[in-house]
């Protein structure tokens, strides 16, 4: 189905090639996981497979890529569209039309189908992606998750034989992500569709994959057996990492596989990990806050407290109001009623720039916060703008950017750019840190650095409020969790209570061991205490 031989590609003006001598085959009907660090060439590889590289991106291209028997060098992407469909990372950047039906019809119209066939396929993909109820809607009214489904439906309507998905779940809440991947797996099972998925959150995909293509980051791409990959690679879902530490063999890929091993451990004999200590000193105080956009109630009487030295994870479906809450706390969105104080200041009455000294918000899209020539000057800009105490050196060290200090933010890899954005927005030790979906598109290594840095800042007396879909991230670092649904608080409590014993919001380790265990470290710690 796909045959890649000696593929090399470097973008124009790039110092080193993104892909260097890559060769692999993909058989029809395979489901392949493309993994690797950010900027390791995953997106570029997918773009090579539908001809966008080299036809749309300048650079030097070598080797052969055959897709469905067609050489991508001799065929334009548009002439490969009937064989291979690509769904890009950001659904917002790929919409063409203004209504759902038009969007789905676009590809079919290009293929020159007759109207009968188009109508039939339209109904099919609407059902397949469970978006029948959206058919009349304007795309501008859809949430990120809904848009992502429409984008996939649009590609599927062209009935490609190969589906390329570039981080399809990075915008989705756990439930939607699960549904989407189940659908993809069904397409693969029932229709024999060949699927390549690039993804960071392996716990979501690894159990469905036949094989792993590991883009290491130095230009090479290794084709590996899934179990071999999860046994040896630095990135692995929590259940596999636990399996490695406890020498379970073969290393489990899913909670289901892990259960067999977990049954051998007497969980009742283990000491439950400690819950977070109750704290007194509330830094973020929100009372009955309500926010409206043009008659739409984004938040309704939300109240919460976040204490000094604490990490609160804000979770909930797409469109539940997480972003709105964070924006309101820095004065970017006006509240309709209620009260909110952050670090003793009434944020509803203050301008964003006046709050910036004490309160830092890292918005979703890291590229949009950078606008200077070097990472160094970006950090200086924040320090002088916010008049926070701190040095450029400290920020560079904290986020391991020392060697990149004089590089242009556009010239570094995606993962490095994320670190740079964090360094820039959080420079100079603000006392309150608000992060919106910080792990979107973030690789395993960067995520660990983020968790370590947030925990250290908390020990130094900072307060963190973190909006995320990432259950494992919340499990790894949050003291308390607050669930929002349709602008209201559903439940609020210690992470070890909220994230346990639920279907969608439990971590993998909790699904295995129940109780208050959230992370592999919890279990390993408890086992060590028993043995000593």
């Amino acid at each position: 189905m796909i045959k890649v031989e000696g593929l090399s590609f470097s973008y124009a003006n790039a110092a080193r090639p993104v892909l260097d001598g890559v060769s692999f085959d993909v058989e029809p009907g395979e489901l392949v996981l493309v993994a690797g660090p950010s900027g390791g060439g995953k997106s570029t590889l997918l773009r090579c497979l539908n001809g966008l590289v080299p036809h749309f991106h300048g650079g030097s291209f070598g080797g052969n890529v055959l897709v469905g028997g067609r050489d991508t060098r001799e065929h334009q992407p548009r002439d490969l569209a009937d064989v291979v469909g690509l769904v890009l990372q950001d659904p917002e950047s790929q919409i063409v039309a203004e209504s759902v039906e038009d969007e789905i019809a676009f590809g079919m119209e290009n293929l020159g189908l007759d109207r009968q066939a188009m109508r039939k396929r339209l109904e099919e993909v609407l059902d397949l992606m469970s978006i029948v109820s959206l058919r009349e809607r304007a795309l501008s009214s859809l949430s990120g998750g809904e848009l992502q489904r429409v984008a996939i439906a649009a590609v599927l309507s062209m009935q490609p034989r190969i589906l390329l998905l570039d981080e399809p779940t990075s915008q989705l809440d756990p439930q939607s992500a699960e549904e989407l991947l189940t659908t993809v797996q069904r397409l693969n099972d029932d229709l024999g569709l060949t699927v390549l998925i690039a993804e960071h959150r392996l716990e979501r995909v690894v159990q469905y994959a036949d094989r792993v293509l590991y883009a290491k980051g130095n230009g090479t791409v290794d084709s590996m057996n899934v179990r071999e990959a999860m046994t040896t690679l630095p990135l692995a879902p929590p259940v596999s990492r636990l399996g490695r530490v406890l020498s379970w063999s073969p290393v489990p890929l899913s909670v289901r596989e892990g259960r067999r091993f977990a049954a051998t451990i007497d969980v009742a004999a283990l000491a439950q990990p400690n819950g977070a200590r109750p704290r007194a000193n509330a830094t973020i105080v929100v009372d009955n806050l309500a926010v409206e956009y043009e008659g739409f109630k984004a938040l309704e009487s939300v109240s919460l407290r976040v204490h000094c030295g604490e990490i609160l994870a804000l979770m909930g479906r797409n469109g539940a109001g997480k972003t709105t809450l964070l924006r309101t706390l820095v004065g970017l969105t006006k509240a309709a009623s209620g009260g909110a104080t952050v670090a003793g200041q009434d944020v509803l009455a203050m301008a964003t720039e006046a709050l910036a000294k004490d309160v830092a918000l890292v918005p979703q899209d890291p590229a949009s916060v950078l606008y200077h020539d070097t990472i160094e000057s970006e950090i200086e800009d924040t320090l002088s703008g916010t008049r926070r105490q701190g040095t450029v050196e400290a920020a560079l060290d904290e986020w391991r950017l020392g060697e990149l200090r004089r590089r242009h933010p556009a010239d570094v890899s995606a993962g490095e750019r994320q670190r740079a954005a964090l360094a820039v927005m959080l420079a100079g030790r603000p006392s309150v840190l608000l992060l919106d979906e910080p792990t979107r598109g973030m690789d395993y290594e960067t995520k660990q650095l983020l968790v370590a840095n947030l925990q250290r800042r908390c020990r130094d007396g900072a307060t963190v409020l973190l909006a995320s879909h990432d259950v494992e991230l919340a499990g790894a670092c949050a003291d308390r969790v607050l669930l929002l649904a349709e602008g209201r608080v559903v439940v609020e409590g210690p992470a070890r209570e909220v994230l346990t014993e639920t279907l969608t919001f439990s971590t993998q380790v909790n699904k295995l061991f129940g109780g208050r265990f959230l992370t592999p470290e919890d279990v390993v710690g408890a086992l060590n205490r028993v043995s000593t």
């Binding site: 590809g107 290009n110 009349e136 649009a154 043009e294 970017l332 918005p363 899209d365 800009d381």
Partner: protein, 373 residues
């Protein structure tokens, strides 16, 4: 105030296609042509103001939408630069007998363009520069109204298949400004989060380049998606003649319009004057018609139905252009106005005014349901 990136997508409310609000993109295209061609074909300040006013009323009448809100800054920036062009034009070349003031002359060396700056400032130059600015403002406002109202996708679909490749480039060009504005808003917010005051022109030089870069990057991503989904696939090799004819058609139309604007005035016949420019545009339009008729027709999921509203807007647009052309041909209606050799009050003719009032047509059929944001 716009919502956050999540909010902006989620809270604009469901807006299924509403028959009353929607004009056929072809009707909008006809209107845009009429609004800009009539503005090109007159130099009478009264008519120009009338044309600008009509275009502005249409813009305001376009139903409120995220797209329209995006166009407000375009209008403001366009007007800002139009107004800025007046003192610039006056200072760089002033002649005529009515001297209003005089400032010291500044001669730039030849290698720097050889421009003379300053000197006497005359009423004639001021009036001429203002007329230019009026024309440009009309174009900006009309283009903004067009962009605020038209579904770009439906417009792209109208293009003949053989022009798909050209349309890809056009799509990038059309999207750069709205995408840059969207990106600009995020960057401006990030700047405030970094403690800098959001408002004020001081931020402009710092942000301009990253914002344009961001806008370009985003619109290229969009074009990437068009391409990946087979836009323009199956254009056979034999279609190159049609593609060429189409490109030449567009080129001739644009050239004709510019020739009219810069050299027109309808005094002496010959290259560069009105009849020549019109001939160019005419040949261009014929070429486009050939492409449209001769090309392969692609099937659509929904056929674009034209309503009486579309018909009336197209009729009004055609009538408006024809009226202006007829008046010019008959040398009636006082369409042209010259500040030279000396200043005098512009004449007014009801028939001329009618031609510019016809530009209001979309506002009438839309029923003025929009109102400013």
């Amino acid at each position: 105030m716009i919502a956050g990136s999540e909010g902006a997508a989620a809270y604009t409310g469901s807006a299924p296609r509403d028959e009353v609000q929607d004009l056929h993109p072809g009707a909008w295209l006809a209107w845009l042509m009429a609004a800009s061609v009539t503005a090109f074909l007159t130099s009478n300040p009264l008519y120009l103001s009338l044309g600008l006013l009509s275009a502005a009323v249409v813009f305001v009448a376009v139903p409120d939408s995220p797209k329209k809100r995006m166009m407000w800054p375009v209008v403001l920036i366009g007007l800002f630069f139009s107004i800025l062009s007046i003192p610039f034009n006056v200072l760089t070349g002033s002649s005529g007998p009515t001297e209003l003031a005089s400032i010291p002359e500044l001669h730039f060396p030849r290698w720097f363009g050889g421009v003379t700056f300053g000197g006497p400032i005359t009423g004639e130059a001021l009036v001429t520069a203002t007329l230019r600015a009026l024309t440009i403002s009309t174009l900006v406002v009309a283009a903004a109204a067009f962009n605020a109202a038209v579904d770009h996708y439906r417009l792209v679909r109208l293009a003949p298949r053989s022009l798909a490749h050209a349309m890809l480039v056009v799509t990038i060009a059309i999207l750069v400004v709205p995408q840059a504005i969207q990106h600009g808003r995020r960057v401006a917010e990030a700047r405030r989060l970094r403690g800098w005051e959001g408002q004020g022109l001081r931020a402009l030089p710092v942000l301009l380049l990253p914002v344009l870069e961001g806008g370009l990057e985003r619109s290229i991503q969009r074009a990437e998606s068009l391409e990946a989904r087979g836009f323009g696939c199956g254009v056979s090799k034999g279609d190159w003649r049609l593609s060429l004819a189409g490109m030449m058609g567009i080129g001739l139309c644009v050239w004709g319009a510019f020739a009219q604007f810069y050299y027109g005035g309808g005094f002496a016949p010959g290259p560069g004057s009105a009849p020549f420019a019109l001939l160019l545009s005419g040949v261009g339009l014929v070429a486009l018609a050939v492409v449209r008729i001769g090309g392969v027709k692609a099937e659509r999921l929904h056929s674009e139905r034209a309503s009486w509203r579309d018909a009336s807007v197209i009729a009004a647009a055609a009538l408006s252009v024809l009226l202006v052309l007829a008046l010019r041909a008959a040398d009636a209606g006082d369409l042209s106005y010259m500040a030279y050799p000396e200043l005098m009050a512009p004449a007014f003719h009801p028939m001329g005014a009618v031609a510019f009032l016809l530009v209001l047509a979309p506002a009438l059929v839309l029923g003025g349901s929009g109102g400013p944001a």
